[in-house]
Symmetry: C2
Amino acid sequence: MLTLHSNMVFDSPSSDATAVEVQLADRSYTIFIQSDAQAKFASAAKQALGDVSHVMVITDEAVDKKWATGLADELQKIGVRVDKYAVPSGEPSKSVSQFETLLQWMLASGADRRSVVVAVGGGVIGDLAGFAAASFTRGIRFVQVPTSLLAMVDSSVGGKTGINLPTAKNMVGAFWQPSLVWIDTQVLSTLPERDFISGLGEVIKYGVIDDADFFEWLEANWQALINRENEAVCFAIARSCQSKANVVGEDERETSGRRAILNYGHTFAHAIEATAGYGTLMHGEAVAIGMQMAARLAIELELCGQQLLDRQTALLQNCGLPIVFDDANADAMLPVMKRDKKVAHGKLRFILPTKIGSVDLVGDVDESAVVDAIRKTI
Amino acid sequence: MLTLHSNMVFDSPSSDATAVEVQLADRSYTIFIQSDAQAKFASAAKQALGDVSHVMVITDEAVDKKWATGLADELQKIGVRVDKYAVPSGEPSKSVSQFETLLQWMLASGADRRSVVVAVGGGVIGDLAGFAAASFTRGIRFVQVPTSLLAMVDSSVGGKTGINLPTAKNMVGAFWQPSLVWIDTQVLSTLPERDFISGLGEVIKYGVIDDADFFEWLEANWQALINRENEAVCFAIARSCQSKANVVGEDERETSGRRAILNYGHTFAHAIEATAGYGTLMHGEAVAIGMQMAARLAIELELCGQQLLDRQTALLQNCGLPIVFDDANADAMLPVMKRDKKVAHGKLRFILPTKIGSVDLVGDVDESAVVDAIRKTI
Ligand SMILES: NC(=O)c1ccc[n+]([C@@H]2O[C@H](COP(=O)([O-])OP(=O)(O)OC[C@H]3O[C@@H](n4cnc5c(N)ncnc54)[C@H](O)[C@@H]3O)[C@@H](O)[C@H]2O)c1
Ligand SMILES: NC(=O)c1ccc[n+]([C@@H]2O[C@H](COP(=O)([O-])OP(=O)(O)OC[C@H]3O[C@@H](n4cnc5c(N)ncnc54)[C@H](O)[C@@H]3O)[C@@H](O)[C@H]2O)c1
Ligand SMILES: [Zn+2]
Ligand SMILES: [Zn+2]
């Protein structure tokens, strides 16, 4: 088993915490990854934020009693005034009307420009509370406390916040970086199995796009991971966060194209999610299938060999992720892919692997090759 | 009559345009001030934006036919796809629900990350459309075409965008800088008298806080200004924009305290507006009265002499602005001032003049002095 790179261990609030730095000039921040660290949260927050006298903990109803209440108590112990708000669990809470309700609650709770939002939950809460923090008096500080695996390895890092319009996901939002990301793997103990496995889809993605060593580590340690052995889980999260932090540090606002590599598998995945009906597949499951389609497309375009696909297939399958999608319908998926936000002027563009640990942005891809890649993944 | 400083005339799209630069590194932009320049708008927009294939003109119902339609036509002439949307005129359009409706319209009109918002209207439209531009796919470019005097000298410059909550103005928004501010004084021909005079309140403010030469010019030329003589109006707008641009360039996000000088008279004005009932006074009228209260407070605290107040009083009065407010009620105003966003931790802080052209931030001001200053302005 590979061990943690020493450069991933920083000055951290507890001896066994791993710290990953997101380097963004005056918007830099630290991601702490550790287990059973609730009692250390308040002092870490204080250290990251400097002065903090009023915190608004925002969470969802499922996470509230399990985890958010305990964190709120820790903050209160150090003399911070804490208010807490729980929205209904699930994607529908990422709506404009929930956004307004939340902002009105913030105002009523006496928030001002020095108040701090602490988002405790999965990606829904991070995105919603993050956008509320970005917008309240044109921006107050916020802390991400991700509680789903997906949120730990993806949505809590990088500053993308936002909500949905009825017909389009994540259409409204802001780039707004947190002041701290606090990952306590203990909370995963209550995360449903399917959510955990789904999150592994994004973990494997980092191996393919950015980190061949990590991919190898995953091939050797998937069993420990799906057994949720703590050391393995912490390592996988830290490695994933390190990859995401590197990419975000180079292309914070998705302007240079570098950040696009994070979308490996995603153009296909979004089309699968849209055509299968949202909710049929979990996001990480759709990403797994999307990566399979992307790898097949890369082979078709002679960007990589069959071995890459075989290794990816085996790893996804070992982790319990789907590798085919019976209901994939190329005719329905194509128009969705052409409307994808990441598509330039209606031309099909994909992030495609060249070898494990490395991808290219490939523009102007032939439709028939795309259709083939979809049909082979049924 | 003082003439334009030569450093205010830049490379501009027409020989008689004045250009003021807002210096904000990669978010820098130009404010063009000129008259009867509609035919030049499209090429100036293209020059400022580089590629532009889809524009969304956002306006209000009153401004739509008068001015926005003509600008949309100019854009169409150069081959840009243009969509146009008019919201009801007035402050109620700065609501979360109007914000959502607007974003859904943007999506339905086929907007993507390269689309551009052009806000044609007063401060309501600039604030609403600017926040929509800031939020749509986490930020697309936008152009300010202010049509009220207040919007020309204040709200269109500096990147503050936002909407209201039912109980708090401008509580939700973003700092989002335009790519271009296009001021055509011709549109003022249809602006109601009271709006024009109200805008002069902010113009005079710049003289007091930042520009003694300009204050002198105003003392000599107020008659030309209230007669809306074009040269005088252009000069006053350019000088006001230059002051605002300087301040914003030093303190974009209101963090250093420098930007606070723009709030001269405003802590009083907000309390007047809130206690008199919104709509009784126009904003610039409340600012005029607020500046009178602030000058009296400065005298009381021995920061400046009586002469400053006398000159300010005469200029405001000549311009047709109110200098007293019969219904001012110190008991009602004080609690509002203590809740003001600009107040630090409940302590009363004011921007107070030390001489014409120069102000200080004065903290921890005695309540009785504030009450006195209010009572003397009745
Ligand atoms: N901002 C970004 O960069 C980014 C990136 C990827 C995804 N996202 C967004 O993230 C969202 C999906 O995230 P998600 O999968 O975390 O969804 P989620 O927040 O809805 O969480 C999934 C479910 O798990 C529950 N849950 C979370 N943590 C738990 C825990 N520790 N124990 C028990 N239950 C728990 C939640 O209540 C919810 O029902 C989507 O809205 C997506 O758009 C954002
Ligand atoms: N963003 C900032 O920095 C900033 C600064 C100051 C004020 N503001 C905001 O600006 C708003 C007030 O601005 P405003 O006074 O321009 O209000 P406004 O946009 O409501 O315009 C006032 C009225 O004049 C009409 N109008 C505008 N231009 C016209 C023209 N050329 N001819 C005829 N009618 C015209 C409008 O339809 C409206 O009825 C407030 O919401 C305030 O919060 C923002
Ligand atoms: Zn994803
Ligand atoms: Zn004002």
